[in-house]
């Protein structure tokens, strides 16, 4: 068996997220596994780096899959893009070491959340960004974001469904960038709890709108109370990069 690394982009709008849920489900993992199973005539399982949530997009998701070496990387790549739905695209297929594991070897992940921050709606990005019509106070958002950087117990910014063993995570950087009408919030860390980025971004938006004081980030973190944080819609969130 050969081990292949798949690099994948997807528009998550119409999917129930990355993780396969059943035999006939509408998930990214399920769609890719179905094509690979058709291709090989065997039941294929793939391992993704990050279990993106329903509606979340990916600019660069990584997965690995073990296949009998009957086809070249290029043949696998072409087969996948020929039979996958148009909202899922494989950007690269590379043979990797047999011990490469997309989830266990992922050392850091970057997510970006796109906010359309103009008074009028953006017709092209309506399903791919969150529209916040009132101008965000970015000085406040940046200062509030700095409370997240470093190692913290993120229980208050997670969902009770999270099954991770520890709720401590390390955030390396949060960048708040303005880009032609958008405010992009880019978060890099060693891992994220279920709903964690969306709860962080939702709370930062509340700060940017003056609905909440920036010092509250600290007290919400310390409270470990899941009911306090804000929550931003899935459709503005993109998995941007996996670091190995």
């Amino acid at each position: 068996m050969n081990n292949y690394k798949l690099t994948i982009q997807y528009d998550g709008a119409r999917y129930k997220g990355w993780q396969r849920l059943g035999d006939t489900d509408n998930t990214i993992q399920g769609k890719i596994e179905n094509v690979l199973s058709e291709m090989t005539g065997k039941t294929i399982e793939i391992i993704g780096s990050s279990r993106t949530d329903a509606g979340v997009h990916a600019l660069e998701q990584v997965a690995n899959v073990k296949l009998a070496g009957e086809m070249t990387e290029s043949e696998i790549h072409q087969y996948l893009n020929r039979y996958l739905p148009q909202d899922i695209s494989v950007t690269a297929v590379t043979a990797v070491h047999e011990r490469f594991h997309a989830r266990f070897n992922a050392k850091e992940k970057t997510y970006v959340y796109k906010i359309w921050n103009e008074s009028y709606p953006n017709p092209f990005m309506r399903k791919h960004s969150l529209h916040v019509a009132e101008k965000l106070d970015l000085a406040k958002v940046r200062e509030a974001a700095s409370y997240f950087v470093g190692e913290h117990d993120f229980t208050a910014f997670s969902n009770a469904k999270s099954k991770k063993k520890t709720t401590v995570r390390h955030i390396d950087t949060i960048q708040i960038e303005e880009d032609a009408g958008f405010v992009n919030i880019r978060v890099r860390g060693n891992g994220f709890l279920y709903n964690m980025v969306r709860k962080m971004v939702g709370t930062l938006i509340q700060v940017g709108l003056g609905e909440r004081k920036l010092e509250e980030i600290q007290s919400i973190l310390e409270s470990k109370d899941r009911s306090l944080a804000g929550f931003a819609d899935a459709h503005g969130l993109y998995l941007e990069k996996i670091g190995f």
Copy 2:
């Protein structure tokens, strides 16, 4: 009556183009007129600068409309964006001179055609660009494009349905620009015949793929034969700017 200039963006994917076709049609003009008629309680007609075709998008379309001065610009603007479908957005409403006419006063128009020129599909731009998987020879495309610049009879690059009195148009510039996997073909001119940009771009793509010699642009122009030019799909085309 006051005269208002509307600046409009739209995702044309699900519309039959700009121009109203009937009472219950699915056109951009129709959608905007319906909202303004609801707003005023009267039958309202708007005049657009450019009659974009079915499936064509606009980053900046301009229209003008005469309304009794009962509402402020800001109130009209907010009403429109509140009731328009999410794929049509009004970016500005400005009171203008009573003689301003969006179509007759338009001196130049810029269209941009977006080609996704990577081997793998782009899941986010699948309805908003044309996927050309084979690399285009841009040196050849640029040289071919130069044949279009200046004043020409564009009969061969028009559709027989075109009702314009003259088929002579002046192209000011054509720029071919690479942008992170995209090739954007930007055409500025004093006006365009029906299907003209799509026929020009379709022919340039044939040149870029080596399916046609670049000198043929000249002979197709001279032939005035509508059957010779290429034809690119509507969904990669955007009306970008109207100059007055």
